[in-house]
């Protein structure tokens, strides 16, 4: 299958003079794959995602995203690590943000937003202001917002970080179903190794200072059982070895 995300010797930093955060990242993500990115706090996972989303310029190297232009869809959907809702829009309007400017009717927009809210179990909260939500509810609105645009590439930065076990399981199942049914390419940052092994078919470990890709493993450990636990344990050791922040 074709690569939809191609990073070639990319190095990334903040400001003009500070040392780079990530160096020499070469990465090619195939269409329809589910890639988890793990690594210690502050290693550069969010930064990498922002570069892929085109929100931050790489210092050097090539970043290519092969986007399909489907009408009424955005090629890339992003779930931020903080929920990042527009405080002046009610929940349902926040979810519609990415749909605005697409050639669809207002009724369609509303319907898609409501569907996305249903997906994250927030049907009853459409008319609330963001400040009236709990932390986990806010995060779920952020997920719904990315889902509503029905993107080919879904970039998720710790999307389930603030969710309880049950909600999280539900949403993991939904995400897996969507991945299976629609063949979206998913880049998924998580701090939870179980989650990574549970969901992804490929796991990328970032580590070191400045950070680079230290491991890039195909994950077919299944969803449970001894192989699963082995895989998690192996990753844990891997990260611990390259843990320097």
């Amino acid at each position: 299958m074709a690569a939809v995300i191609d990073l070639n010797g990319v190095s990334i930093g903040y400001g003009d003079s500070a040392p780079p955060v990530l160096v020499d990242v070469t990465l090619s993500v195939e269409r329809g794959s589910f890639v988890a990115i793990v690594g210690p706090s502050g290693v550069g996972k969010s930064t990498l995602l922002r570069v892929v989303a085109g929100l931050h310029k790489a210092r050097t190297g090539g970043v290519t995203i092969h986007q399909d232009q489907r009408p009424a869809h955005r090629p890339v959907g992003l779930v931020f690590q903080d929920a990042r809702l527009l405080p002046w829009r009610k929940v349902v309007k926040n979810v519609q943000l990415g749909l605005e400017g697409l050639p669809i009717s207002a009724a369609d927009r509303l319907r898609r937003a409501e569907d996305a809210l249903k997906l994250v179990r927030l049907d009853g909260y459409a008319r609330r202001w963001p400040y009236e939500l709990s932390g986990g509810q806010r995060q779920r609105v952020g997920i719904a917002r990315a889902m509503a645009v029905d993107p080919d590439i879904l970039l998720m930065d710790e999307p389930f970080g603030a969710l309880d076990a049950i909600t999280r399981n539900n949403l993991q199942d939904e995400l897996r179903r969507i991945h299976r049914e629609t063949g979206k390419t998913i880049l998924f940052v998580t701090h939870d190794l179980e989650e990574a092994v549970h969901l992804a078919d490929r796991i990328i470990v970032l580590g070191g200072t400045p950070a680079r890709v230290v491991r890039d493993v195909k994950n077919d450990a299944g969803r449970d059982g001894a192989v699963f636990r082995d895989q998690v344990e192996k990753l844990r050791l891997e990260i611990a070895d390259n843990y320097s922040i």
Binding site: L55, R74, L78, F80, R84, L86, L97, E100, L102, V149
Partner: protein, 250 residues
């Protein structure tokens, strides 16, 4: 605190203010003829209304004010936002703006006369000018202060183009600051009405100056109270609208 309590507190404040004023006026601390007591206002009001002057002046000033305010606000917000958005434009105009900014309304009068003649337009121009500056700076700083994270969010969701970014992220995000500028302009506009009517354009300001020249202070005060009421009502309404518009703020 509910609306009832707050309204009665306001009434209390106004009554205290009027009583204090009346006391000062009667005490003779202030030379007679310079400060009439507020109780002189109703009589003056009736007289002016009967002569038909009050209504005419109010309508005239309101129209200068409305035009000037609308124009000044719109242009001020537009230019302030533009300067805050484009660094090149900002750098280009910053010192020109610095040169024009401190020029007082009075010094603009000759230009107003040249451009508009002795006409309503000239008065509106002068009012627009003061209102413009206030809105310019308020918008500039409000737009500069918009959360960069939200702008990034806009980019991520296809709202990074100028128009959607402006109308979906920047202006709503800067709205509290812009509205505060609008509100300041609301008052500053009235403050300028008087200066703007110094040269032959009829309205409250002209009548006030005329009365002041003839030391008819009760008429001066009548028109000051008139301005105060007009402003008070518009400011009150503005605050109601603002509370609606900013209901997303806790």
């Amino acid at each position: 605190m509910n609306t009832r309590t707050s309204l009665s507190l306001s009434a209390l404040g106004v009554v205290a203010f009027l009583l204090g004023w009346e006391a000062v006026a009667r005490s003779g601390v202030v030379p007679a003829g310079l400060l009439p007591s507020p109780s002189a206002v109703p009589t003056a009001f009736l007289a002016e209304v009967q002569r038909g002057i009050w209504q005419k002046m109010v309508v005239a000033s309101l129209s200068h004010y409305a035009v000037g305010l609308a124009l000044g606000t719109f242009l001020g917000v537009a230019f302030g936002t533009a300067a805050a958005l484009w660094r090149v434009w900002d750098a280009f105009q910053s010192w020109v703006v610095r040169m024009l900014r401190p020029i007082p309304a009075i010094a603009w009068i000759p230009f107003a006369i040249i451009w508009f003649g002795v006409s309503e337009g000239a008065a509106s121009f002068l009012i627009a000018l003061t209102v413009f500056w206030i809105n310019y700076y308020a918008s500039y700083s409000a737009v500069r202060g918009v959360d960069k994270d939200l702008i990034e969010l806009g980019h991520a969701f296809g709202q990074g183009g100028l128009i959607p970014r402006l109308f979906k992220i920047i202006l709503p995000g800067a709205l509290p600051g812009i509205l505060s500028g609008l509100r300041a302009g609301l008052g500053q506009g009235w403050m300028t009405v008087v200066a703007a009517e110094l040269f032959g354009i009829s309205g409250l300001g002209m009548r006030m100056m005329e009365a002041s020249g003839l030391l008819a202070t009760n008429i001066v005060v009548l028109y000051m109270v008139t301005i105060a009421l007009l402003y008070g009502v518009s400011d009150f309404l503005f605050m109601q609208v603002q509370a609606r518009v900013l209901s997303w703020q806790r």
